[in-house]
Amino acid sequence: MKMKSKRYRDPVVEAYMSGVDRTLLRENLKLSPAQRLEKLVGFSAFAATLRRAGQRAQTAKRR
């Protein structure tokens, strides 16, 4: 019996796919790989700043 060549689709992944924000992906695809990495660096720094601010706020709340 011949195997079907169609790619396996994981039903869990399929379920998640409906929740993917494709507008974000389309915006990223307009950028070059280098620009995408610069964006990651920016987001990463932003997330670190937020994390530090959150830690400071929690420390202040405990006092």
């Binding site: 695809l29 790989p33 990495l37």
Partner: protein, 160 residues
């Protein structure tokens, strides 16, 4: 501390380290919108490359991530040769040095499934989208399911 992707990747390239970028940063190169916190690379296991990895990373204090401080961890060629996959912290952030990955094998196995990225004033090899999906599927981690869905969507967007 957040990982300094813009310093860690050029450091490896300028140190002459042979590696293939995989994981979340590779996902970002390919268009993913998910934030990631570490750099995952599959490195060549040849002796010369192990020496380059040690020379390049040692000044940045590599240490086993999650391990208690003060363990007698020697980041040298024998350690790399005797081990395979290392999850490290460094002064520049978290780095996973992987000798082999499930579903992808080692550096040489992955090479045909890479393309060259030019970023941060250096060039390096990054795994392609179908292979990244394959690696994430093979890893079988529940936390990757959303990520796989996004990568599959990227594949569909690219096919349009």
């Amino acid at each position: 501390m957040s990982t300094q992707f813009d310093k860690l990747l050029p450091l490896l390239v300028n140190g002459g380290v042979e590696f293939v970028l995989i994981g979340g940063v590779a996902g970002n190169v390919l268009g993913s919108a998910r934030l990631t916190f570490d750099v995952d690379v599959v490195y060549s296991r040849n002796k010369g490359n192990l020496e380059k990895i040690v020379q390049t990373l040692k000044p940045h204090r590599p240490y086993l991530r999650g391990a208690p401080p003060g363990l007698p961890f020697a980041f040298d060629v024998p350690t790399l040769r005797n081990g395979l996959n290392f999850t490290l912290t460094t002064a520049l952030g978290d780095l996973d040095l992987l000798g082999e990955v499930i579903g992808g094998g080692g550096y040489r196995d992955l090479l045909p499934h890479t393309f060259v990225v030019e970023a941060f004033d250096v060039k390096f090899k990054c795994v392609d989208l179908p292979t990244l999906i394959k690696l994430k599927r093979a890893a079988g981690r529940p936390k990757d399911l959303e990520s796989i869905a996004e990568l599959e969507a990227l594949l569909q967007e690219g096919e349009k």
